[in-house]
Amino acid sequence: MKSQIRKIIVQVDEVLQEGGQAVSPPTRRALAMAVIANPYAGKFSENLDQLIDIGEELGGLLGERCVKALGIQPEDAHSYGKAAIVGEAGELEHAAAILHPKLGAPLRKAVSKGAALVPSAKKQGTLGTAIDVPLGHKDAAFVRSHFDAMEARVNDAPRANEIVVAVVVTDSGRPHPRIGGLQVHEITGTDGLR
């Protein structure tokens, strides 16, 4: 393991009714988070390769945990998103090093395909800081029914020298989407947009 993991947390949010109407099948979103030590906490480093490698490792681990928690096959995943919260002895750039260079490829493998950009958010924070992980359809970013967000927080993290890394995978869009736009059955899935 490249990352020193203190905790892994997996949540599943299943909505069976919304607005007084049954949601059938229920919408389900899975969130997997890892609380890791920040190898660059408290010191400036020009090179952030350790975090880039940690991002690669966690993209697969957290993506697979989400898919497993949903009990689905990778190709049945609909949308995804990623986020990181950096403790106060680290920099926002540390979150960027985890999220952007290498996390995406293993995450895409975990959900199969994944032509679209993985929407992301990052912030600095402290114990219990919440971050809303943005979500978009994995193969076509313009699918309007799948624009969403899932709140992620860990009550005892990040400590100053830690980072919380979060990945969300869903098997559905919002409950009762009805604001039009590009529909799932209209996806061509080649450019990641439509």
Partner: protein, 216 residues
């Protein structure tokens, strides 16, 4: 007329704790909580008789206990700590949360109340009879509150067979973002597979349980 038990949302939370800045555990401590968001049929008006719902919650409780154990990826025999709680939306009363006391405990006993020798069973020696009459002997510790959407609740946990086991006094924070709405109720079960990850404050140890009275 809608059913008395009308579940809108189910939220599961499972954590694996490898360490808390001390020695890394050989097997991580697994703790989990499951929360069902349901309609509060008594919201907005005072009802003298709310007991019908208590009885009606029993099947939901059993179902949630099974789902939580499954989400934690362990067999019921591995569960060593438990707790329960409720969060009542703003149009309800704390007393509505108290409806969960009996069904929450019933659910744990249905899942964990296996009779036999746990150590022998886990060692593959079958259920040799001992002085232990069953599992889930302890009172299931609980807490409840009235709160707005996103309220957090620290659900207390203790050892399933003896409340005084000091290594297993714990609590897990539960939050269902966006819930409960004012006319809703959240019922919660929590379980863990062991002691606090670096438990070292002495007291009664799990292996020294001898009275099988739920306390020691």
């Amino acid at each position: 007329m809608t059913a008395l038990i009308d579940v809108r949302r189910v939220f599961t939370h499972v954590e694996e704790i490898h360490h808390e800045f001390g020695p890394v555990a050989s097997a991580p401590l697994v703790r989990g909580a499951i929360a069902a968001v349901l309609r509060n049929p008594y919201a907005g008006t005072y009802y003298a008789d709310i007991l019908p719902m208590m009885e009606a919650l029993n099947p939901l409780g059993v179902d949630l206990a099974k789902q939580l154990c499954e989400a934690m990826g362990v067999f019921p025999e591995a569960i060593q700590g438990y707790g329960k709680g409720a969060i009542v939306g703003a149009a309800g009363e704390l007393e509505h949360g108290a409806l969960w006391h009996v069904p929450g405990g019933y659910a744990m006993r249905e899942l964990l109340g296996w009779k036999g020798d746990r150590a022998a069973y886990l060692a593959g020696k079958g259920g040799v009879s001992t002085g232990q009459p069953g599992n889930a002997l302890s009172i299931v510790p609980s807490t409840k509150k009235v709160g707005p959407p996103g309220t957090t609740l620290d659900v207390p946990m203790t050892h399933i067979n003896a409340s005084y086991v000091r290594s297993h006094f714990d609590a897990i924070e539960v939050c269902v973002p966006g819930s409960p709405r004012s006319d809703e109720l959240i019922v919660i079960l929590a379980m863990s597979t062991g002691a606090r990850v670096h438990a070292r404050v002495g007291g009664l140890a799990a292996q020294d349980i001898s009275q099988w009275n739920g306390l020691r």
